[in-house]
Amino acid sequence: MAIENIIELENIVKTYKIKEGFRKFKPFNAIDGVSLNIEKGEIFGLLGTNGAGKTTLIKIMAGLLEADKGSGKVLGYDIYENHKKIRSNVSLVAPTADVGTDNNLTVKQNLEFWAVVYNLPKEKREERIDYLLTFLGLKEYENFWPMSISAGMRQKLAIARSLLVQNPILFLDEPTVKLDAKGAESIRKFIKKINVEFNTTIILTTHYIFEAEELCSRVAIMNKGKIRSCDTINNLRNNLEKYDSFTIKCETLKAKTIERLKLEENIIECNFKNNELKIITDKLEKTIDLTTRALRKENIQIESINTTEYSLEDIFIKVTTEEEKI
């Protein structure tokens, strides 16, 4: 069966003009040559640090921002010609739950307000709102003011708003940011449920690697406006298996030593945190030998050496730092 791409982007470029003073602007490359295909029905993760370009890319895909260069289609609509068509066929939840939520309306009244704004037919409104309130566990809070419910509940309200109209694509921009562990866990559960129940394609951005690992069928790792790697988590892990990693426990380490190690040919990534030097390498034995000799030369006491397994965090660190090294 042929895979149906719901989003296709080719070499997208977006540069912002950052105001520096009166009539003075500095260019900032937010997106730099991004190509991406997203399949119908998948949960796709955009992973990256702050300023990586995730939100900008989401805005372009949601028809809220026009790219400077490149080409692309969302739901078959051209991203340059059919902004409005795209906008009315996708749903978006912003990072803070309060965006779009009116504190002068109760939970249910908020949904009633947006149902009119989103042109939901009158005869379907009541039923749909009721269904969503139940589906997202908000039914018992329907007469509460948004200020009096938890941040997690407000985030669910924002998600309920975006689901009023059953659009085929849902963009979730950092859906669990500012939530406590319990609230975040509950939101993740509902993201999976929405994907299964409504067959909605979900594109989410997140800082949290474990979140992407738990939810996403595929992830794109972004850094400095580029997609450094895009694949299933298993494939990303398999690709990394040509590398090995090990940790050396030691008390102190000079920044100069770490910098010197980073320049070594076989060392892909090297960082020192909590008295542990972590190294990713393509030649394990040679690198262990080289590193231990370098540390001993500086009279650094080595407490232990361990080889380690890869996590998505290792992949993330590798792909976001590899280019910097080059």
Partner: protein
Amino acid sequence: MNFIKSSLSFTKLEYKSLKFYPSSFILSVIKSFVTMSMWLFVSLFLKDYATEALSNYNGDFVSYMVIGVVFFQSASAILTLPFQSLSTAFWDKRLEIYNSANYGIWAFIVGRLIWTFAYNFIIQLSVLLFAVFVVGVKISANISVISAILFYLLFVMTSFGIGLIGASNFFNLEVKQGREPVTWMTDVLARIFSGVYYPIAVIPSSVRFVSYFVPHTYALNGIRQIMMNGQSLFSNTMLPYVSIMMVFSIGTILLGIKLLNNALIKAENGNGIGMIV
């Protein structure tokens, strides 16, 4: 029809907000009464000096002043509305969310226009009725209420049109808060040259020509002709005012829509409409 429904839901939102904080309505009413009273006292103090310059209005400076202030206040709220709406929604991080809805930002602006118009109409009407029936400010016994409302609507439309032109600067000039130059300049010129507080005749002749370019001049003259001299909208006296105000209202609204739409497109092509942070 769906656009109207969508706009009205934003109007309802403003109403809900008022219900939540009724004190702001009470304070607005008090403020309008205070402003009217202040200018009423000024006009009572100066009425004997202004009689000659107000021959067109039976020399009644007090009525001239009160009517001018009441209608000017009402129009000023409409003038700044589009820019203030964009600015508030932008800083509340709602602008992009509104833009993602079917009718985008327009339903939001029109919804707030309907609310602001109704809100100010009620307040200024009560101020005017108070001035007439309690303070004793004189108005014509033969006022055509329909003429007054229709002419006032032309004034509102013109103010809204200029407001839309100004709102385009939110994106064109990247003025994100405070005041933007178009509505600010209109407000300043109207206060000085349109005869809100004093007859245009007292303005030095060398700069008096400026009043011809300010829509408020025609609007306030027209409304005073209806309220003080009992003119009908279709009378010969009113014909020039009505014609000019129609040109101003249609012209500014069409230009405003065009400029704001272009500014929105420019924003989408540039740094975006708002921020989703």
